[in-house]
């Protein structure tokens, strides 16, 4: 009984019926609850702001279902051959590879400068702000902006995708570098190693597999970005064929076949990257 008296009664919050409210004062719960409410409210509001010009919802749904059935159950090629289809998939993969590999090389150097344990605070801050800015601009806008200077083609597409890949990988790489055991860096520093020695012998051996998995993860993303760039920015490849088949020829069977081709490659890439992820970083990682 005496114990109970010691507790300041004003600190115990009770519900209307006298039950002690065990949840009060938990900041996490409050924030979670508020976020969910705000998102719900914004979602409901959104439907009042949408532009519904020309939408006939019932016809649209039944037509889409019919289209999907034609696409996925009767795929066929009419405007180009199988060889051409493989070639176009190859172009899309090629764009993805180039943007990823060049991006990874550049990001490696930038991330060394962006990591707080290897670089001066002002340099690292500057790179971070710069990278955040690049990441905020959607890839398609980068590609279209580069297309003005370089003309439509693979150069503009690769450069546009490269910009975004660098920004993404610098963030991932520099976070991996910052998790390197500070003891290793200190030990190397105390022996009088130069900055390059620390990077080559201290940082790279322990982070290399991380870098590889992140790079592959980015390649997976870059493949679907390359498809998008083909469709929206005229970068060629299977994305452009998809755009032509659906927007110009209205050939649903061809759209179906192209979609299958993209789906198969994407699933193969996903399986590989999931394997890499489970092998090299067991805890969940944000793609």
């Amino acid at each position: 009984m005496e114990m109970v008296k010691d507790i300041n009664p004003t600190l115990i919050k009770r519900k209307g019926n006298g039950q002690i409210n065990i949840k009060s004062g938990n900041k996490v719960d409050t924030v979670v609850k508020w976020t969910i409410w705000v998102l719900t409210a914004l979602t409901i509001l959104a439907f009042f702001f949408f532009d519904y010009t020309g939408l006939q919802i019932q016809r649209a749904i039944s037509e889409t279902l019919y289209n999907l059935r034609v696409m996925f159950f009767e795929p066929a090629l009419t405007h180009f051959s199988w060889g051409e289809a493989f070639y176009q998939v190859g172009i899309t993969l090629g764009l993805g590879v180039l943007a990823t590999i060049f991006g990874a090389i550049i990001a490696l150097f930038l991330s060394l400068l962006a990591a707080e344990n290897l670089s001066k605070p002002w340099i690292s801050k500057m790179i971070r702000v710069f990278v955040a800015f690049i990441r905020a601009v959607p890839t398609v806008l980068w590609v279209l902006i580069f297309a003005i200077a370089a003309g439509l083609g693979s150069e503009a597409a690769v450069l546009g995708m490269l910009f975004h890949s660098i920004a993404y990988l610098v963030k991932a790489f520099s976070e991996a570098i910052e998790e390197v055991n500070p003891g290793i860096i200190e030990a190397l520093r105390s022996t009088g190693s130069s900055w390059w020695h620390i990077v080559v012998h201290g940082i790279l051996p322990s982070t290399f597999t991380y870098f590889l998995s992140w790079t592959f993860l980015r390649f997976e993303i870059n493949f679907s970005v390359a498809v998008a760039m083909g469709a929206a920015a005229g970068a060629g490849g299977i994305g452009f064929e998809l755009f032509m088949a659906s927007g110009f020829y209205f050939d649903l069977r061809e759209v179906g076949l192209i979609t299958y081709a993209i789906l198969i490659i994407a699933i193969i890439l996903e399986v590989i990257s999931t394997r890499l992820k489970n092998r090299y970083f067991p805890s969940s990682v944000k793609a």
Binding site: L39, L42, F50, Y87, P138, I148, V255, I262
Partner: protein, 261 residues
């Protein structure tokens, strides 16, 4: 590490480098990419950006119109993400090892998720555009379908990571399936799930721009319109507003994430 293993490792590294070089070479030849041209383009493009992408008085006059379209795009991505999260929650509960009802539903849920995730959002928007036409619903549905796929995978991971002992404890007391899910699984994985939802909203605003270009809606359409008219001052302003919107949302969600995780 003995000498033999070190030797093997050296060979592995060399082999790996050779593969990368070959793949890069093949990619440059199939895409007709010219590295030197490409490198020369970068300074030219940056120079062009600084001399042409300027926000002028004239373009500021377009601000109300731009903000309206930007608002439409932001609303579109929030609505698509939130509704997709609701669907994903059910799919994830069916698909996860801890909470699955039976093997059949689990496989179905995982299949739906993989199917909608691996078909790029571009393909979804082009398919939907054919019958839904040029309005916000097309973009909304395209984002919705792609997000369901992604969030289901993320949610399955969060549910799997939830502590098993509380599930076991509730099972021991004879709690029903519904009780276990709502009292043990969801409260544990909710912060993680919310973090994924916030991440997806950020991503979707960027994707919404792309979808907008293809389906002729929202800020993407505005960008495409002025880009094709070569009115680069307005293009600059639109890009700038997108950047501001994305960064503000990123900062906000980082703040929320810091509290809940």
């Amino acid at each position: 590490m003995n000498e033999k293993r070190m030797h093997a490792k050296k060979w592995q590294t060399t082999f790996f480098l050779i593969i990368i070089i070959v793949v890069t070479y093949l990619s440059t030849s199939i895409t007709n990419f010219n590295l030197i041209d490409g490198m020369l383009t970068i300074p030219a493009a940056i120079g062009w950006m600084f001399s042409n992408l300027l926000i002028t008085q004239d373009s500021i006059a377009k601000m109300p119109q731009i903000l309206e379209k930007l608002g439409e795009t932001i609303f579109m991505s929030i609505a698509a993400t939130t509704l997709a999260a609701v669907v994903s929650l059910f799919l994830a509960l069916m698909g996860s090892k801890t909470t699955k009802v039976n093997q059949f539903f689990s496989v179905i849920a995982r299949f739906i998720a993989s199917f909608s995730r691996n078909i790029p959002v571009v393909a979804w928007s082009l398919i939907l555009l054919i019958s839904f036409g040029q309005n916000s619903m097309t973009g909304f549905l395209a984002l919705f379908v792609a997000t369901v796929g992604f969030l289901t995978r993320a949610f399955i991971e969060s549910v799997d990571e939830a502590n098993q002992s509380s599930v076991e404890a509730l099972t021991a007391t004879g709690a029903t399936y519904f009780h276990i899910v709502s009292k043990a699984v969801i409260p544990q994985s909710l912060p993680q799930m919310l973090s994924w939802i916030l991440f997806m909203i950020e991503t979707n605003i960027r994707s919404a721009t792309l979808v907008g270009i293809l389906t002729g809606t929202g800020i993407g359409y505005m960008f495409d319109l002025y880009y094709k008219n070569m009115n680069y001052n307005v293009v600059a302003l639109i890009t700038f507003t997108i950047v501001i919107a994305v960064i503000v949302i990123e900062l906000l969600s980082n703040k929320i994430r810091k509290v809940i995780l």
